[in-house]
Every structure is written in structure tokens, then in C-alpha cells.
Symmetry: C2
């Protein structure tokens, strides 16, 4: 295993020059730079990350904390993060907080603090002030995606606006009896997102002169199955059955489509359905949705981080960068039947 001295010897320069040439920090003449690079290639030299980290205090590694791995949204964000990081030459250490609270404490107290990472990206996670502070004390930049984290740079989607857009699409088509499938309480605890979507939905309704009816709301757990059961409930109403459903996620919307079919209804003739996400499956189901772009969100989080990590260090103020979203009309929504 070739070391930096081997490279230095072969290139006929000092180890300091090798270090500078390879890391890009400090000035090196083009000539020696070339020599060093050739020598390194010849020897198959790669820096030892531990030695480099120990000496420099930088690890070129970022910790990514996610609440779930096997949900479309999270794995997509993760994919974006991973790719952006790889391009930047950073490694990604993954922490899945799926388990109990114990696990969470371990991750924070033992893992993140081992000085193994330069920074942390938290995906759809609401960190406690204590957790944020701990990271701050250590001088580790933190950026959040999705979850609102006080005092931290965050990428957030305007869930109220998203919900409003979806609801207005339905209103625009002429629907008046619009039901909503949102998150259940448990979900809301961590993400607040369902509440915001419900708020947007209600606001749009009121603006159209419609008073939201609690009977037209059903909670679910963001899965297809959950959406299915919620939709059956909603669509089974004997009087004034809703002519449209706005589900707070595409998976729940897909569940709703299946529920409608099982009830013998035809979408969108008998009921219009709209979701949020633009999930992999949405196109297949012809689902109209408000698309968000999780991969891009992951990439943006990395960019934000690099601003803080790399030289210029604008001492990034806490801020909330809004994320784009977009209505994608497919075949699950239409004017209500007369």
C-alpha cells in the first residue's frame, strides 16, 4: 500500500508538495503537479482518509439521517443526496432512525459526535433543540430537507400552497364536495406536513365560499392500504357523497383509486382523485398530482451544505429555501357529472 512518501520520492518532491498537489490547497507549479499526479497514478496511491482527517480536521464525509428507507420519498431524496455527494468527492454515512428512541439517542450521542462527519443532512426529521445545539456546538453544519427545524437552513415545500393548488384544480373543474385524506395524528407529530396540507385544502375551500366539513376528512398513514380504507369510508357516505378526493400523498391517492374501483365507481367519471408527490406509480395509474422533486431536493441540500463547508463560508444564516412543485394533470380528474 503506497504512502505519501512513496509518491513524494517517485515524483522527486516533498510530501508537502504531494499533499498540496493532490488536495488542491495551496499553490503548486504545474510541472510538479503533473509529476505528482503521474506518480500517484503509477503507484495507485489514494490518501488515507483517517490520516487526512486527523491532520486536517476535515473528513469529507457527511451524515444523512432519515426516518425511513423504504418509502419512495425518502429513498428518492437519499438518491439525490448520494449522487451529489459522490460528485463532490464526499462520502455519505447513513443513519436510519427507524427504530425506537434509544436508537435515536445513540446516533446522536455516539455516532454523529465521533467526529466522523463534517456535516449532517436531516431528511423530513424534526430535530429537537437539544439535538440541533449539540451539532452547533461541534461546529457541524446542518441542513434539513422537509422537516421544519428551527434555526437551521432548511429546504421546505410550501405545503399549504401545494394543498391549495390541488384543491383549486378540483374547484376549477367544478367540484364542490371535495373530501380530503390527510395524515393521522402519529404522523403529524413528526412532520407537521399533514396539518399544513389540510390547512391549504381548507383555505382553498373557504376562498371558494365552501365551509370545510369534518365529515369529509379522513386520516390515514400515507400508504396505499391506508388510502384505500379511508377512501372507502369517504365514498361510502349515503348522502352527498364527495365528487372528488384530495389525498395528501400519491400512495393514498392510488389507494383511493383502487377503493373507488372496488366500489364499482369509475374514475374520474364518478369521482375525481388527486394526490401529491408524483410517485413512480402515479403515471401508471393516470393519477393527477402535484409533483415535487425529491431527487432534486437531495441535490440542493448538498449544494447548500457545500456553501458552508467550502472556503467562502458565508456563515449561512438559517433560512428556509422554498422548493418547487407543479400540477400534473392526468386522467384521474375531470368535471363532476351533473
Amino acid at each position: 500500500m503506497a504512502g505519501i512518501d512513496d509518491v513524494a520520492r517517485l515524483a522527486g518532491v516533498s510530501t508537502a508538495t504531494v499533499s498540496r498537489a493532490l488536495s488542491g490547497r495551496g499553490h503548486v507549479s504545474p510541472a510538479s503537479k503533473a509529476k505528482v499526479e503521474e506518480a500517484a497514478a503509477r503507484l495507485g496511491y489514494v490518501v488515507s482518509s483517517s490520516a487526512s482527517s486527523l491532520a486536517s480536521g476535515r473528513t469529507r464525509n457527511v451524515g444523512v439521517v432519515v426516518p425511513f428507507l423504504n418509502r419512495w420519498f425518502f429513498s428518492s431524496v437519499l438518491e439525490g443526496v448520494q449522487q451529489a455527494l459522490l460528485r463532490t468527492g464526499y462520502d455519505l454515512t447513513l443513519y436510519n432512525l427507524a427504530g425506537d428512541g434509544d436508537e435515536r439517542a445513540t446516533v446522536f450521542e455516539q455516532f454523529l459526535l465521533r467526529r466522523r462527519v463534517d456535516a449532517v443532512i436531516a431528511i423530513s426529521l424534526e430535530l429537537t433543540e437539544a439535538e440541533v445545539n449539540r451539532l452547533h456546538e461541534l461546529g457541524k453544519p446542518l441542513v434539513g430537507v422537509g422537516g421544519p427545524i428551527p434555526g437551521v437552513r432548511t429546504l421546505i415545500i410550501d405545503d399549504v400552497a401545494v394543498a391549495r393548488l390541488a384543491t383549486e384544480h378540483l374547484l376549477g373543474l367544478g367540484h364542490r364536495r371535495i373530501a380530503h385524506i390527510g395524515g393521522d395524528l402519529e404522523f403529524d407529530l413528526d412532520f407537521h406536513l399533514p396539518t399544513n396540507r389540510r390547512l391549504g385544502y381548507e383555505a382553498a375551500l373557504r376562498d371558494a365560499g365552501i365551509e370545510p366539513d369534518p365529515a369529509r376528512f379522513a386520516p390515514a398513514d400515507f400508504t396505499i392500504r391506508g388510502g384505500y380504507h379511508a377512501a372507502k369510508q369517504l365514498l361510502g357516505a349515503p348522502h352527498d357523497r364527495p365528487t372528488a378526493i384530495f389525498a395528501a400523498s400519491d400512495e393514498m391517492a392510488i389507494g383511493s383509486i383502487l377503493a373507488a374501483r372496488d366500489l364499482g365507481m369509475v374514475v374520474p367519471r364518478d369521482v375525481s382523485i388527486i394526490g401529491v408527490d408524483d410517485h413512480d406509480l402515479s403515471d401508471f395509474f393516470g393519477l393527477t398530482t402535484v409533483a415535487q422533486f425529491p431527487r432534486v431536493q437531495g441535490e440542493q441540500a448538498v449544494e447548500l451544505l457545500m456553501d458552508e463547508l467550502e472556503p467562502g463560508h458565508a456563515d449561512a444564516e438559517p433560512s428556509a429555501t422554498p422548493l418547487p412543485f407543479e400540477l400534473r394533470v392526468r386522467s384521474s380528474t375531470a368535471r363532476p357529472a351533473e
Copy 2:
């Protein structure tokens, strides 16, 4: 930021004792161990992983290489790996080989070799001999899950037997015209798994005295949409329409169920459908399937690794540990109609 000396001073012992007490390597009297632990806790001391790695040569970090992140199977294995690793006190550095070949080369030449990881877990990836050798030279243990990697400890599922079991379930119910949806060529290149499943399907058929009919095979890409289109093809046959479909994955099987419905068929009355995986959604769709247990597979991979990483180091020989699978009969299969 407290260092090991601070702890040593506070505990009234040497740094060596602190190191021993905290790492569990070497003997320390219970008394000093207690003192050290208390001091460490008081100071909020956590070892610097880079210093520790540099001095010891161990990183307590394993690299995990996956081809996809947003597919149920992979994210489930990953979840198992992550959890097992966390319990063992190891970190997990994630490499997603989603992109082009370039990315793959970078990961191998730059990242894995930076001596950042003690070992590598490859999920459903067929590594080249060169890649395996590179890792071997560096003395990094490697275990594979799913993909057959020559000369490496691997956890593999007996795909031939899985397919045979699924097909025999159908045969046992009395089906004779059984179609198969398998992987397309592109998929096969990397995983070989579709071929094996097709082999098992054909073997079961032959054992029952039925000659496999190429017209009853349709390739797809392991997605719901792919399964949907393949099933439509199969079920649209004007003569001798199959009475059952064995799909090589649950997602394709679910696509088949949807296709059957769209053709006005009732499952299982008009056609029986069986898959492989026991995907999250399978229970919801009442899909009969041959379950495999990806989370457990991930955990097992970690166990295998620890055998090599921890003291006893039995110099683990290449071997292929078989993975369990199990028939789960639900409501998508039944006797064929007369």
C-alpha cells in the same frame, strides 16, 4: 472538545487505560473501568474516529454498495444491514451504483480504497473479478447478498427452488396452462436471477409432464407497470389462454392482477396469480407469493461480516449460505375453473 488526556486526568489513570477501558480491548480492573467511564460521561468524551482508525487500522465502518435505492427489495436489505451495524457499533457508508459505469469506477478506485471502510457488503451486485481482487488485496472482507460473486461469501436464495415452489403450488391446484413473467435481458445481465427463476418454472412444468411453451413466457422489468403490460399480452391470447401466471416478482404480479381486472377477469376465478417477495403491498392485494426476507438477509450479511472482522477471524472461506423462503397462500390463487 474533551480529549483522551482530559479523561485520563480526571479519572486519575493513563491514556492507555482509558483507551483500554473504553474499547474493551485488554484487561482493566473494574475499579478503573468505572472511574474512566464516569469521567468520560462527565466530559462528554467520544473518541475521535480518525485518530482511532489511524492508530489501530480499524475504522468501524462498512461500505454498502447497492444498485438501486428506491426499490423495495434493496431498501429493505439496506434497512436490515443498517440496523445490525448500528447495534454492533459500526457505521455504514452508502454507495449507490445507480449511475453510469464511470460512477462505478470512481467508487471502487477512489472511495472504497481510501481506507475508509473495514469491509464491504454488496447487495445484488455482480462484481467483476478485478473488483473482487482489488478488495482482496486490501484485505477487506466482502460479503455479497443476492448476487452470485465468485470466490466470495454470499447469501443467496435458491431461485430455482423458489420458482419451482411457486409453480408447483399452481400445478397442485390443478393448473396446466401456466404462464411466466420473468426478467428481460437487461436485467438478467446483472443478476442472473430471472434465468434461474425461469429454469425452476420450466423444471416444475416438465416434472408434471408439461412441455414449457415459449408463448407462455413474457419478459418485463420487475415493475408493476411492466408486469401489467406483460400480463395483458399473456391474457389476451385468443386460444388456450393461461389459467395461471407465475410472476418473478410481486410487483409484476400486482401489475398482472391489475391487468386481469382491466380485462374484466376476476382473480382468482378466471386466472390465478402468484409472485415472489412478499412485498409490502402484497398482503393488500391478497397476492399469494413465495416470501423472502430481505431485512433478515441484511442482518445476516452483517453477522457473516463480523465473523471475519472480529478476533476469531476463521478466515472465512468463500461459501454460499442459502436463504430461507416460504410459500404464503392468499387469495390470488385457486383451482382453475372447469
